[in-house]
Structure formats: structure tokens, C-alpha cells
């Protein structure tokens, strides 16, 4: 097959897949090999999404620059030395708890530590759980038939995280998942996979963080599948601090049973071209999802949030709050889809997206999309794009703050609503500090 210059590189993924299939993948259980083969076939049929008419989901994000790069899957044998200080730098320091570290998509046991967990809690590299319940859940929620990036991740799934919290167990310590990319001689891709199973009335807090070298091109294509059993609660925070040359696509698929509560935070301050897909299925009555987003972007960063909340049954609720600050020529896209199915009476859903622009070159595309087929519901949404209020600047100056100090305080004030929703106190303090640090760069 001949390749035009600038053509998209689906073929390179297919040939990488074939060589892995002949080699490293051979050792894996049959069900997984079958899943991978199905997934790569879907990827081959789908191709990378194209921003064309009628393709609303990708209207504002052109993945061409990512699709045209032939990324390598890093070799398992390659020992990559990462100094522990590098890991610490990206870790949420305010906690003990367990920590799983991945370097270029591969599990790094030497940097990971799994502390004493309550009995029957399972936390390990996904690869070590393939013979257990992972086989019944992996690939059952994230749709690899219709979504190219999910198909690609599923086709290349190797290392990742498996967390299973049994009934009635509350994990008090935070679980940290650190995905680190390092400078490599060639452009590399990693496909981290996370599977979280929360049984009835269980409680946990999971923090995912993604980071990599400031210079250099690489691609992170992550997929998380989360299942919340009746009455369970998961606080799921994701910090994306990839390098400026990074492509980052992360898909999170959540399924919630009765009275469960899922809290998500997507914090994006790194990355070059970023797409977050967050799909939440409120599958049983009383389920509630609280989805937060916080973006602090500059230069030519592009971050696209595609959220979908499916109110499938009566008496469910969702609350979305996405706020951020843009400077330079940064671009944010927010697509907020809410579906209220015909029988889903007494649905409550609330969605807000607000952006503060610090420069003329920055841009926002915000698109709420409400599809409501039930009549006894409370649904609303609001979007706003604005600049710093001049009267407020003068007010602060009249109290002794200089121009920069006034702007910083007002900018922080604008986004502070998002960290304020975090109930985990040490993490909230960490996040507030992160926001302050990042705002100095905008």
C-alpha cells in the first residue's frame, strides 16, 4: 500500500497490531485476543474521525495532526530509567495511600506501591487481573464499535489499572494512578486502560494524572471504564498536564446503578491537542453524577470536552460545571449532551460552562445539547464567555492591589468555584495550589 505524504496513518497502527499479535499478545487469554481483533477491525473500518459536515461530535476538533503521525508502541523490553523525583513531581503529595505508576503506558512496579488495603480489595496492574473479573467487564462499557479511539485503545490494551472495591468497603486513602511519558527517540503512543468496579455501598477516591516532557511529540490514548454498584460512591479526579507537543485523548465510560454517586473532575492545563470524552449512563433510580471541568490554557492549546449524560430511568440527577481561563490562542470546545429518555420522569439536570478570555486570540465553542423526551423534569443549562470586569479591576486597585495582582485575584476568583466543590480537603488544597501556579503562566 502506498502512502501519500500527509495521509492519515491507520495502516501503521494495523501493521503494529499485526506484529504484536504475532508476538507479545500471544501469551494473553483467548477472550482478550478475540476482543483485540474485533477492536482493530472496527478501527480499520472507522478510521480516524474527520471534521466534516454532519459529524457534530468532531466539528470543532481536527485530529488530522495526530492521525498523520505514525506513532510507535514502545517495546516492553526497553528499560526506562525515571528518577523517583520525576514521579514525585507529578504525584499528589498530600496523601499516603496506594500509587500505581505507568511509564510510556507500561506498568512500572519499581515506582508503584500498593499499601495495605482492606481484605478483598483488588488493586493491581490490569494484566494481572485478566483471569479474574476483568474478563467479564473489560470492553463491556466503552464502545469500541463506534468510536475509533476507544477501538484503538482496546486493540492495544496491555497494561493498566484494575480496581475492585467489594460491597460495603470504604477506602479512606486516595488511590493515585500516575501515567508518565518520557522523551523517546521516536514518537510513541500509549494506550492506558483503567477498569474500576465499585460494588454495592463501596466508597473510593481515584486520582489519575497524566504528564510528559515539555518538548517532543507523543500520544496518550486512555480509556477508563467505571461501574458503580447500588449506593456506591466514587470521586474520580483526572489531572492532565501533558507536554505542549502531546496529543491526549481520554475516554471515560461510567455506568451507575441505583443511588450511586459519581463525582468527576477533569482538570486540563497541559497538552497540545486534547480531547476528553465523558459518557455517564444513569442506569438506575437515584443515581447522581457531578461532573466538573477546569481548564487553564495558553498558547495554541486545544482542549475539547465531549460530555454525554444519559438519564435512562426516572429520578436521576446530574450537575455539570465546566469553567476555565484562556490566554494566547488557546481554544476550548465544550459539547454537553444530555439525554432524558421518555420514561425518565423527575430527572434533574443542570449544566454550566463559563470561560474567561484573557486575550483576543483565544476562542471558545460551547454547545449544549439537550434531548428531553420526558415531561416532568427539571433541566437547565447556561453558557457564558467573558472578559475581566474593568470596574472590578478598579475596585481592587482602590484597595491597593496593582494591575497584575488585581487580575490574578479576579481570575482565580472566576475559577475558584470548581476547586471549592472538591470534598477531599487535602486534594482541594493541592488543586488550589496547582491553579495558582498555572495562572501565573497565563
Amino acid at each position: 500500500m502506498t502512502q501519500r505524504a500527509g495521509a492519515t496513518q491507520e495502516a501503521s497502527y494495523l501493521s503494529t497490531f499485526n506484529s504484536l499479535e504475532r508476538d507479545g499478545f500471544k501469551r494473553d487469554p483467548t477472550w482478550l485476543r478475540k476482543l483485540r481483533v474485533e477492536a482493530i477491525a472496527h478501527f480499520r473500518d472507522l478510521g480516524f474521525p474527520v471534521a466534516r459536515r454532519g459529524n457534530e461530535e468532531w466539528k470543532y476538533t481536527d485530529v488530522g495532526p495526530l492521525a498523520r503521525v505514525p506513532f510507535d508502541v514502545p517495546n516492553e523490553q526497553q528499560a526506562i530509567h525515571v528518577p523517583p523525583s520525576e514521579i514525585e513531581h507529578h504525584a499528589f503529595a498530600g496523601t499516603h495511600g496506594s500509587r500505581l505508576v505507568f511509564v510510556n503506558g507500561r506498568y512500572a512496579p519499581e515506582h508503584s506501591s500498593i499499601e495495605a488495603l482492606p481484605p478483598e480489595v483488588r488493586l493491581c496492574n490490569l494484566r494481572d487481573a485478566l483471569k479474574g473479573p476483568a474478563s467479564r467487564h473489560l470492553g463491556k462499557y466503552a464502545d469500541y464499535e463506534a468510536h475509533a479511539f476507544t477501538a484503538l485503545n482496546t486493540a492495544f490494551v496491555q497494561d493498566g489499572v484494575f480496581l475492585h472495591v467489594p460491597s460495603g468497603t470504604a477506602l479512606s486513602a486516595v488511590i493515585q494512578l500516575i501515567f508518565l511519558s518520557t522523551a523517546t527517540p521516536t514518537d510513541t503512543v500509549s494506550h492506558p486502560r483503567v477498569l474500576v468496579l465499585m460494588d454495592r455501598e463501596s466508597v473510593a477516591t481515584v486520582i489519575e494524572s497524566y504528564s510528559g516532557p515539555m518538548a517532543g511529540r507523543y500520544f496518550t490514548n486512555a480509556v477508563s471504564e467505571v461501574v458503580l454498584g447500588p449506593g456506591s460512591r466514587l470521586d474520580h479526579y483526572k489531572l492532565q498536564a501533558e507536554g505542549a507537543g502531546a496529543f491526549h485523548v481520554a475516554t471515560t465510560e461510567v455506568r451507575q446503578e441505583g443511588e450511586s454517586r459519581y463525582t468527576s473532575l477533569l482538570m486540563d492545563h497541559g497538552g497540545g491537542l486534547v480531547r476528553n470524552n465523558l459518557n455517564v449512563l444513569l442506569h438506575e433510580e437515584g443515581a447522581r453524577a457531578e461532573l466538573r471541568g477546569l481548564y487553564l490554557l495558553n498558547e495554541r492549546q486545544h482542549v475539547d470536552y465531549n460530555t454525554f449524560v444519559d438519564h435512562a430511568v426516572p429520578n436521576t440527577s446530574s450537575d455539570e460545571l465546566y469553567k476555565g481561563v484562556l490566554s494566547g490562542k488557546a481554544h476550548v470546545v465544550f459539547g454537553g449532551k444530555m439525554l432524558v429518555r421518555p420514561n425518565a420522569q423527575k430527572t434533574t439536570s443542570h449544566q454550566v460552562n463559563k470561560t474567561l478570555l484573557l486575550s483576543e486570540g483565544a476562542a471558545v465553542d460551547t454547545k449544549p445539547q439537550l434531548e428531553i423526551y420526558a415531561d416532568d423534569v427539571k433541566c437547565n443549562h447556561g453558557a457564558a464567555i467573558g472578559q475581566i470586569n474593568r470596574e472590578a479591576i478598579f475596585y481592587l486597585k482602590s484597595r491597593g492591589l496593582d494591575d497584575l495582582g488585581a487580575r490574578k485575584l479576579l481570575t482565580y476568583g472566576f475559577v475558584s468555584e470548581v476547586p471549592a466543590t472538591i470534598t477531599h480537603v487535602p486534594f482541594r488544597a493541592y488543586l488550589e495550589q496547582l491553579v495558582h501556579t498555572r495562572l501565573r503562566e497565563l
Binding site: 484597595r399 491597593g400 479576579l410 468555584e417
Partner: protein, 254 residues
């Protein structure tokens, strides 16, 4: 302390102040009265450095320094405070944090270290008691969702904490009920000292029965039409501003 000479100010190309001269000494409280649109608020804004005010003629000196060459924050650090007629809402910024930020800027400009957080909080609590303000307001965003009365009390609290030498209060009495008015007036009275000066801008005489001025100026159409003692405020109360305007006209034609 404050010396204004023949001040002409335009806002959006319209001349609002048309030759104002005013001299305020330490220890004095001057009331500035006048009808709506007479330029009272513009005077407050130009002294504190609001960017919409353009000075076309005249001068302002504060403690001998040319105030018009100083940016607003430098004026604030030098001891000038404005209580806003319409205090701006600042969502997401807690009142106590905001106060500490301003307080520290003023300290830094005097070569002092930032104040210890706990010490500041203690100080703040006792000040709060003095101005009879609900402590819960400190943890709320500045003016965000405050009632009219809460906003004015918050301005008086800020003044008390920042300890300015020259306080300019722009209609601090508007929209207050009798109890709130008395408390706000109490806060202003406590600021009076031989080292400090106050400019109290008001539409009504009402507050002046609680805070008795040393001098009263009547503003008409961008100028000071009359200056007198506290009895002048009572005359305005009895006869209305039309009386001053006709008096002023008679005066200028004489």
C-alpha cells in the same frame, strides 16, 4: 491634606467637573451635597484615579504630592480610600482574603512584612464587632449576593481595616434603614481623628445628624455653588436644591 484647584474633568467627552477648588485639612470632615448628576461621584472617582475620568485642567495635591501622576493603587497605598456608591461584586474572592490582600499591599508599600494570617484574622474579628457586621460575611465572596446594607457595612469595614488617612464615602447612606444608617454613621465617626480627613458625599442631610460635618459644600452642575457650616445642610433640607440653584444664579449674576 487634599488640595484641589480649578479642576475640570470630562467623562466620555462630556465635561462633568467645571472648575472645582477644595481644600481639606487633617482632622476635618467635609460633607459634599448636591442633586443627582451634579458631579459629586465624579469628584470621588477622579481623586481615587478611576480610568474613565480625564482631567483637562487643574490639579489635585495630596500631602503635597501631585496625585494625578499616581496610579490608583499607589493612591490607595498612600492612604486614600473610596467607599463605593455601588460596590462591585467579586465572585469567588472571599471578603477576608480580599481584605488581607489589600492590607498587605499597604504594609509592603511601607516596607513592612506581610501580616501573619492568624493575627490578621483576630484583628478582623474585633473590627467586625465594632462595625456590628455578621462574621459570616467574611467567608463569602466580596459583595456577591450581599444586600444593599451589607455592601455598605462591608465598605465601612474595609475602611476601618485599611486605616486610610483620607476617606471618601460616596453615598454610603443610600438605601439604608435607620438602624443600618446609625451603625454606618458610627463606623465613620470612629474614623475621625486629628490625623485623618473624611469627604462624605451625600444626597440627603439625614446622615449628617449622626456625623456632624465641619464644612458643607453644595455641588451644582460641576461646581461648588456654596460652602458653609453644618447649618447649610439643614437649609438644603428645608428648601431643596432649587433654592441653592436660584441663589447660585443670583450670586453669579451679581
Amino acid at each position: 491634606m487634599l488640595e484641589i484647584r480649578d479642576l475640570h474633568v470630562t467623562v466620555d467627552n462630556a465635561e462633568i467637573l467645571k472648575g472645582v477648588s477644595l481644600s481639606v485639612n487633617a482632622g476635618e470632615l467635609h460633607a459634599i451635597m448636591g442633586p443627582n448628576g451634579s458631579g459629586k461621584s465624579t469628584l470621588a472617582k477622579v481623586v481615587t484615579g478611576h480610568p474613565t475620568c480625564r482631567v483637562t485642567k487643574g490639579s489635585i495635591h495630596y500631602e503635597g504630592q501631585d496625585l494625578l501622576r499616581m496610579p490608583p493603587e499607589v493612591r490607595a497605598r498612600a492612604g486614600i480610600f473610596l467607599s463605593f456608591q455601588h460596590p462591585v461584586e467579586v465572585p469567588g474572592v472571599r471578603l477576608d482574603h480580599f481584605l488581607r490582600a489589600g492590607y498587605n499591599e499597604i504594609r509592603k508599600s511601607r516596607g513592612l512584612d506581610e501580616i501573619d494570617v492568624l493575627k490578621f484574622d483576630r484583628q478582623l474579628k474585633s473590627t467586625l464587632k465594632a462595625v456590628e457586621m455578621d462574621p459570616a460575611l467574611l467567608k463569602r465572596s466580596v459583595n456577591d449576593g450581599f444586600s444593599g446594607g451589607e455592601k455598605k457595612r462591608s465598605e465601612v469595614l474595609q475602611m476601618t481595616v485599611l486605616e486610610p488617612k483620607l476617606s471618601i464615602l460616596d453615598e454610603v447612606d443610600s438605601g439604608l434603614d435607620v438602624d443600618a444608617l446609625r451603625e454606618v454613621a458610627g463606623g465613620i465617626s470612629r474614623m475621625r481623628s486629628p490625623a485623618r480627613a473624611i469627604l462624605l458625599i451625600t444626597h440627603y442631610q439625614r446622615i449628617l445628624s449622626y456625623v456632624v460635618p465641619d464644612v458643607v459644600h453644595l455641588f451644582i452642575d460641576g461646581r461648588i455653588a456654596m460652602t458653609g457650616g453644618k447649618e447649610l445642610a439643614l437649609e438644603v433640607e428645608a428648601n431643596g436644591y432649587e433654592w441653592v440653584e436660584s441663589h447660585d444664579a443670583a450670586h453669579s449674576s451679581a
